[in-house]
């Protein structure tokens, strides 16, 4: 997943602290009230089938519920799949090729429409009709690839029975992570007939405790309690929290320093984004433990290089960039909020094994460029306008100029940065800034959506380097069929090195994220989900 996102597990101390604090908080605190929050940029989409950003997933975690979902907990517990709209976890038969689930009876969307088993099929079909960036997780469903091409005839591998609520999903081959993928927002049910175009301005009816009542792209959106939650859905899904506040208003405030001021002054109760670099030490010093908390995260920040065209189609050029990028410089640009790393998997991810293939060496980088002698030296560097990503882009531009390139820097609005660079018809997609957060706690989510040939798409492309190495793709495919275990973890570690030998990215670090709330919010109760960041149902006024 791009942008902010996930945390996982291995950081047991933080996990324990989160859970412990939550447990200690008991049931005291006010119910009701209106929570005010802010984002520095509007999510890519407010449409569950389309959104592939932490902004969007945080916004829709408690609105659109898939058949399965992730537990509302911090740390490792938050990476556990639990039943959502389905009565239980899937029954897996036919050698891992058939998943059978039963929809809970009596569920309704926020507009009162009953939720039917066949809605799952229409939702998956909508996902493919939209050419969603999440489709690659579901092409394993029988008939999905054909439907992706023709957009007609339905997906034969999904059988549903509205009367009994049974849903059977037939796969073309086993997939070890399919249960996790059934819990992603991409497959959260929406009513049949929901138009196959972005519904960000008019988000579909919800199944979760909150429904999006109003959406003004670029400016903000609001939630109200889903009227059907109390009447029907809450009783049917007792394990899912209903939330404490009655209303949530989110504003887009581009200036992160203003976001901090608003939270400090109580004008806003929460900010989604990480603290701006120059306020980090101040806020941490003043509010840590009361209003501020550092959250363990699993992500990789990197510069991608388009491997399909000069000069980055030359491995030597890509390796030169890796030697040239100085993680220590980027650590300062991110004001110490990034831990230097030069590999694809982040520290804490199963399968992570530290290595440094390209220690910073400018002389070697220049030598490699001299050896490669690229004919095309006019390149464009892309980045978004959120600080300090824009500064990371300026640093990278200066670095490439030192390597002898003529570089133009393009800084795009963060609202549509990934949409623009994910559209392969955008001219001059040479290289740029990017980040990647796990979709669920499995290293496959760092390779399959971001670095395999099958993930290259004309729009909403997530393989920004457009890397297509069949031998590596085959290894990923083999691992995707298996459950994660010690053997697989060591294979992922080897894969990490193999990918970095291809140098499609120049990774530079793992970002530290945080929760910052106003003084009237009970920080101890705020859950940081490893997948969805802050869980809006956990916010409660003191």
């Amino acid at each position: 997943m791009r942008k902010l996102g996930v945390v996982v597990s291995v950081l047991a101390l933080a996990v324990g602290a989160t859970l412990g604090l939550a447990a200690c908080s008991g049931s005291s605190g006010k119910e009701g009230g209106a929570l005010k929050g802010s984002y520095a940029s509007f999510p890519d989409y407010l449409d569950p089938q389309l959104s592939y950003s932490a902004e969007g997933w945080t916004a829709m975690y408690n609105t659109y519920i898939p058949l399965l979902t992730y537990a509302h907990a911090g740390g490792e517990a938050g990476g556990v799949v639990v039943p959502g709209l389905a009565e239980g976890l899937p029954k897996i038969t036919d050698g891992g090729k058939t998943y059978t689930l039963n929809l809970r009876k009596g569920l309704k969307y926020s507009d009162g429409t009953p939720v039917k088993a066949s809605d799952f099929k229409s939702t998956i079909e909508r996902l493919f009709e939209l050419n969603s960036p999440g489709t690659f997780y579901y092409t394993v469903i029988a008939g999905a690839e054909e439907f992706q091409k023709t957009k007609s005839g339905g997906i034969s591998g999904i059988e549903t029975d509205d009367a009994s609520g049974e849903i059977a999903i037939h796969l073309t081959q086993p997939r070890g992570t399919f249960t996790n993928e059934l819990a992603l927002p991409f497959v959260a049910l929406v009513p049949p007939g929901t138009p196959a175009k972005s519904q960000s301005t008019n988000p579909p009816p919800a199944t979760g405790p909150y429904a999006i009542a109003e959406s003004n792209p670029g400016r903000g959106w609001s939630y109200e309690r889903n009227p059907q939650w109390e009447k029907n859905n809450a009783k049917l899904m007792p394990d899912l929290p209903g939330g404490h506040v009655d209303r949530i208003d989110i504003s887009v405030i581009n200036n992160q320093s203003t976001q901090v001021n608003d939270v400090e002054q109580g004008k806003s109760n929460w900010m989604f984004d990480p603290l701006p670099a120059d306020r980090y030490a101040e806020v941490k010093g003043k509010y840590e433990g009361t209003q501020f908390r550092v959250e363990p995260t699993l992500n990789t920040y990197y510069f991608w290089m388009n491997t399909t065209q000069p000069p980055f189609d030359d491995l030597k050029v890509r390796q030169a960039v890796n030697y040239a990028v100085d993680s220590a410089a980027l650590e300062r640009i991110y004001a110490g909020q990034i831990k230097p790393s030069q590999q694809i998997l982040p520290l804490g991810m199963p399968g992570y094994k530290e290595f440094t293939l390209y220690p910073h060496n400018m002389a070697k980088a220049k030598q490699l460029i001299a050896d490669a002698n690229p004919s095309d030296r006019d390149i464009t560097v892309w980045t978004d306008d959120l600080s300090p990503n824009d500064e990371a882009g300026a640093y990278y531009q200066d670095l490439l100029e030192r390597l002898g390139f003529s570089v133009k820097l393009k800084v795009l609005n963060a609202d549509n940065y990934f949409t623009v660079i994910g559209n392969l018809s955008t001219p001059d997609l040479d290289t740029g800034w990017g980040n990647w957060f796990v979709d669920y706690p499995n290293p496959i989510t760092f390779y399959e959506p971001a670095l395999t040939g099958s993930s290259i798409a004309p729009t909403n492309n997530t393989n920004l380097a457009q890397l297509d190495v069949p031998s590596l793709d085959r290894e990923v495919e083999v691992l995707s069929k298996q459950q994660l275990g010690a053997k697989q973890e060591s294979k992922f570690a080897a894969l990490d090195k193999s990918y970095m030998e291809q140098a499609p990215w120049a990774p530079f670090g793992i970002r530290t994220l945080s929760t910052f709330v106003s003084s009237d919010i009970d920080l101890g109760k705020v859950i940081w989900s490893p997948i969805f960041s802050n869980d809006l149902t956990s916010f409660q006024f003191k």
Binding site: N255, P276, A277, D326, R332, G336, D385, E391, K410
Partner: protein, 337 residues
């Protein structure tokens, strides 16, 4: 009796206006300051405006210091403590030399102000002459066109155009300007201010074309082009010069606003507007990064406005006379003939 040309009279009046002359002196000093940018960058600071020094250390008064500390705080002004390097400190976490960027940024801001003022002047004089001379349909079409542009608030129109052209650049027939080019803000600013200059010029042309010297030229067989450029334009120079001067100041302010909002000069290039924008993010830890370019804009705009006022008083004493008459202090000035 000794006869003097109107220009000479204006020069004499301007020379006696000490405030206007002081403003001119300040403006010239600023121009010299920014023109010296390459000299300072190469001979003193030994760095370029976009060169980053994030992990470098410099010796300040014998002590080794980080240009950017590990927590991302840039070094503040060291004045001459490092032999002129980082005279005003670093510009932020990238560790670029603030003084060098200030000087180069000033060149960008002044160039944009000047070039956009030239574009505005060319467009405004052309349209004003056509509308005022031909009147009728020509006037109606041009005036309504100007009204449409006028109807938009300048900053909003500038942001809309700047944002639209930020990614794809501008392509009109053979004219192609890539995104990020400095000519994008120049064209935008030159365009949005055109009505503000074209309307008064049109009004003045309407009045001038009724004068006897125009009738005489027409009676002698002068065509429209000759009348417009040979008879009317010379009588518009004083108005044009005053507007031009004041327009440079307005353009610089608009450039700063657009760059602050991300729709003007594109990074990593510096202008005083982009420097304020960049410094604003660090306003709590390094307020000088915002204050210094802000003061430079203030001084430049103030000097141009004061000088422009003085120029107007010198070239068009009537406007001053009218103002003073309203104030009840009117004393007719005897003009030497």
């Amino acid at each position: 009796m000794k006869s003097r040309s109107p220009w000479r009279i204006a020069y004499r009046r301007l020379r006696s206006n000490r405030v206007a002359l002081a403003a001119l002196g300040l403006f010239v000093a600023i121009v010299v300051f920014v023109l010296a940018a390459p000299l300072w960058a190469n001979e003193v600071a030994h760095t370029g405006p976009n060169a980053t020094h994030t992990v470098e250390k410099i010796t300040v008064d014998g002590e080794r210091r980080d240009v950017v500390s590990p927590d991302g705080t840039p070094i503040g002004p060291v004045w001459l403590g490092a032999d002129g390097r980082f005279f005003l400190g670093a510009d932020g976490r990238l560790g670029r030399d603030e003084m060098v960027r200030l000087m180069y940024g000033g060149r960008t801001s002044l160039f944009i102000g000047l070039a956009a003022a030239l574009i505005t002047t060319l467009l405004a004089v052309g349209l004003g002459l056509l509308a005022g001379y031909f009147r009728g349909w020509t006037d109606a079409v041009i005036s309504r066109l100007l009204d449409v542009i006028w109807a938009f608030p300048v900053i909003l129109l500038g942001i809309a155009l700047g944002t639209a052209l930020a990614v794809g650049g501008l392509q009109i027939g053979p004219l192609s300007i890539s995104s990020g080019s400095i000519w994008i803000p120049i064209l935008i600013i030159g365009f949005v201010y055109t009505p503000y200059m074209a309307r008064p010029i049109r009004g003045e042309v309407l009045a001038l074309r009724e004068k006897e010297f125009v009738e005489a030229a027409v009676a002698q067989g002068a065509g429209p082009l000759r009348v417009m450029f040979g008879e009317l334009l010379p009588n518009l120079w004083s108005t044009i010069i005053v507007f031009f001067t004041l327009n440079i100041a307005n353009n610089m302010l608009l450039e700063a606003a657009l760059s602050f909002l991300g729709a003007g000069v594109q990074p990593p290039n510096s202008s005083w507007g982009t420097m304020i924008s960049g410094g604003y993010e660090l306003i709590y830890s390094a307020p000088l990064l915002t204050i210094i370019p802000g003061v430079m804009i203030l001084l430049t705009v103030l000097s141009l406005n004061v000088f422009g006022d003085g120029l107007r008083d010198a070239l068009d004493p009537k406007s001053k006379v009218e103002l003073e008459a309203h104030a009840g202090t009117f004393e007719p000035e005897e003009e030497p003939v």
